[in-house]
Each structure stands twice: as C-alpha cells, then as structure tokens.
Symmetry: D2
Subunit: 154 residues, 4 copies
C-alpha cells in the first residue's frame, strides 16, 4: 500500500452555482468530486442523486461536494449552455465545474490528469489535499458514507 | 361524454430511428405517443422507461410506440444533435420525431395542435385514428396496459 | 391452443375480510386470484403489492381480487392467527381465503386442484368462470393490466 | 450533551444463527443492534435489508450485526417457530435473539430496558460497550455508514 498522493489540480473553464474554486481554497475540508456527463444514464440515475445525498448528509463546513462535467464524447451535445439547463431542471445546487477540453484528444484535461476511466467517477480528497479514493461506477451509499466519515475522523 | 375526435396530424421536422412517419401510415394500429423533452427529469426517469416497457410488451404489428420531442423551453440546449446523443445513450430504439418549432411562440406545432400542457404527456390513438386518451404526467403501468388492451380489443 | 376450461372450485377453510365466497357467487365478474404465503418474500415484496394495485385500479363491480393463502411449507408458522396479524399489518383489505390443508400431503387442496407450482401464483378467471391465465411468479404490471382488460372487453 | 452511558444488558430467551451472545462477549467490536418484528412491514422492507447491507459492508471482526426480535404485539403470531421460518425464507444469516417476554406487560424485557419506542429501531454500541446511537425508524444508508465508521475510527 503506497502513501496517498496530492490530488492533481483542477482545470475548469467555467463554474456553475459557485465562484471559481480551487482545491487549495478547500484545504481543511473533505472534498467529494463527482465526475459526470449530463447524458450519461448511470450518472443521472445513480451518481448525481448520490452526490446530492452526500451534500444533504454532511455539514458543508466539513465536506465540500463538487460536480465536474468531464465530457469525453458527444461534445456538441453536452455544451455549457446545455449543462446550465440540465442543472436547473435536475435541481443540482452544489458547485459544478466544466472540465477544460483538450486541444488534441476527446478527454478533457482534469479527467486525464486524474486518469479517470469514464463516468460516473467518485473521488475523495482529504483535508490535506491528498487523494484518498478514486472509484469508477457507483458504490453503495453505506460504503461512501463510511469512507467520508473515516476522512472526517482523521 | 363526447364522441372521440380524429387525432390531429403531426408536424415533425426530423425523425430518428425511422423513415418519416405519419398518423395515416399507421392506420390499423393502436398508436402510443410519448411526448417528452430530453432534459425533463420526469420524462427521463418515468415516462421514457414506461414507453420502452410498452414497446416491449405489445406486438409491434398491433401497437406503434412513437416518441415526440416537444421542446418548449431550453431550446438552445435540446437541439436535434443533442437529442441524437441522448437517444443513443439511453438506448431508445422506437421512432422519435422532433416536433416542429413555431415561429412566434415557445411551444412547438404538434404540442399546440394537441393542446398539451407539458411533458411527459401520453396520447393513445385507436386503429381508426381517433384520439382516445390524452394524459399529462405518468400513469401507473397497470392503467396504461389496460387502456392499450381495451383499444386492441375494440 | 385448447379451449379454456372451467376454473376448479375453491376449498377454503376460513375467510378474512369477507363473508364466505365461491367462484359461482362471482360469476359475471373477472376474478383475479393471488395465491401467496405470508412468509414468501416474493409474495410480500412483489405479488401482494401488485394484487393491491389491481384492486385499486379496477372497478370492484367488474373485477374481484381474491387472496388465497396456499401454505405448503412451514405450516406451524403460517397459521390462520398469524395470517390475521399479517393482513392487518400489511393493510390487505381484499378477501383472503385459507386454502384447506390436505390430510396426507403438504400442498393444500385448492393448490393441488389448480396444479400450482409455488407462490406467488396469479390466476385469472373470466366472467363465465373459465380459467384464462395461470402464472407462477410475478409478471409486469403492464402485462397484467392488459390481460385483465382483455377479459373485461370480452 | 451528556456523556454516553453503558448499553443495558440483553435479555434473550433464544438465539438463532449463533451460540448465546452477550454484550460483554462482543467488547472490542462496534455492535449494531437491529430491533424488529417479523410482521412489521417497515422492518421487512427497509430495516432488515439495511441490517444485511451493514453485515455485508463491514468487516465482521470489527462490526457485529445483531438482530433482536422485540415482539410487543401479535404475540401468538410471532412465535419463535414462526421466526425460524421467517429467518430462513428471508435469508437472514446474522445472529438473532428473541427478546424475553415480560410477565405483566406487552413489551419484552430488553425493549423496555432500552426504552425503545417501536420497530424498527437501530442501536449502535461502541467498542467499550457504550450506547452511542438509538434511532426509531429507518435512517439513510449514508448516515448509518458514516455513524458506524465514526465509531470504528474512535
């Protein structure tokens, strides 16, 4: 088991529901990143509702829930203007950043920096900015709740 | 109780999953129209899955399931190119028509012709082209299954 | 395809939620029999809730929903006194008959007469007392709603 | 906020799925007690499945999940022989104790000792035998997972 590494910086071209955010500005909180695409059924049906439950469950002074729109397919469909409509219709109120597109490949920059395999992906970062969990797909609420609590208790 | 009226013609600017269709070409079948918007949560979570269950349940030689993309808000987000991506990601295989936008109002033309109040809306048309049910929101599967069977048995 | 046969008579030792009922007394109605055991998880989670939806969906003057407690295992646990508590706790309000135990085999008498394979089993009987459907397990609401409507339309 | 108190001893007349257990014998583990009645719909539909998820989620060397059958109504229906059938049919594999009936009141002895208000009730006891949570009804998995993790991290 290797030591946890610092979480890579985010490359975000636009923020919704928030002023621009950086990992550094969230130091001291546990940070939950839910990477999604607005036309990914698993994200819409499972990942985003779970992120909303996390945001409701934990004290926002202790746990920051951040959405990251990591578009790697259907780029012409999942534009920021479409995302804005999606967030409004689905009642997503936590901050959501648009992962900055790459110039020469379909995967956006933060997605590449984290080595994400697809969407939804859940990432947990501890109070010191260290990457503590990186999970492709959706895990049970009980597992996620326990993982976050473990980081809070550290 | 008034006599059933002929269902208004459809105004469709583009078809997916099908050659162009008209109500007249479906005469002899029971026609189920599911009017939806791709960013309407109730459509994505309840209406479209029900339409897919209808398509699986009934013999396609007897019952035609048709999606109608009736965009009346967020027009710049729910474009045909976005709809194409949506249909692919959600595995919608029945014919879907894009309701033709109006020039001077947000509601598209077929939506206006039918007097639809919003999305999702379920419309049932009998074998003779008569409008037999027009329901805003989602009804239980048992009701919808019974309604369609009643029209089949006529 | 063979012609439908008359549904066998019921052998019921005790009725809940009703005066004693017989198939003959229900002639003219479509009869839905839900055969269950109170400790059968598939019955509790799926079959009985579906029977309750049938009872809510259809006009009781047209469709009679009848529960049949066909105990073929754990006889000492699923006694009539236990069933009474179960029906109260789960809010089952339609008539429920206790299938009369056999003297020399675990299967009760009506279960044997119908050749049921287990619980839950759904049986549909038409207005003339003919057996029209006999299904082990749980079918989708849309199918069941359509089946009942077909019998109503006959 | 008062200091946590020692969890009261259990009064159990019969154990299923286990040799007799006591709180003392579980010292060093986090103990999760799910108090239920086999004919309580909220227990069957929500509480017991959650207890099973807890048992799957956490290392049994760290977290002990215990069912407690706290019968306070329908005593003649929810007997130990009926409970045995129920546990088998629902695939409950964690230890379940029968809360010892009282001589002069409907509530059984452990239920009274803990001041439980009904079923389902979830109780969390820390590694030192102190009562840390006592909750009537069903809480979200994310909350329960976090609560248990907090006790594990202490």
């Amino acid at each position: 088991m290797s030591a946890p590494q610092p979480a890579p910086a985010w490359h975000v071209s636009q923020w919704f529901n928030s002023e621009p955010l950086s990992l550094g500005s969230l130091r001291g909180k546990v940070v939950v990143v839910h990477a999604f695409q607005m036309l990914c059924p698993g994200c819409v049906q499972h990942g985003l509702p779970q992120a909303q439950r996390i945001a409701r469950q934990f004290d926002p002074a202790q746990v920051a829930v951040i959405g990251l729109h990591t578009v790697f397919e259907h780029h012409t469909a999942m534009t920021p203007v479409a995302l804005a409509a999606f967030l409004q219709e689905y009642g997503i109120r936590f901050p959501v950043g648009v992962d900055t597109p790459s110039e020469d490949e379909p995967l956006p920059q933060t997605m590449t920096a984290y080595g994400m395999r697809g969407t939804p992906t859940l990432i947990l970062i501890d109070r010191d900015g260290l990457l503590r969990k990186h999970s492709f797909g959706v895990e049970p609420d009980m597992q996620v709740g326990a993982d976050i609590a473990m980081l809070l208790g550290n």
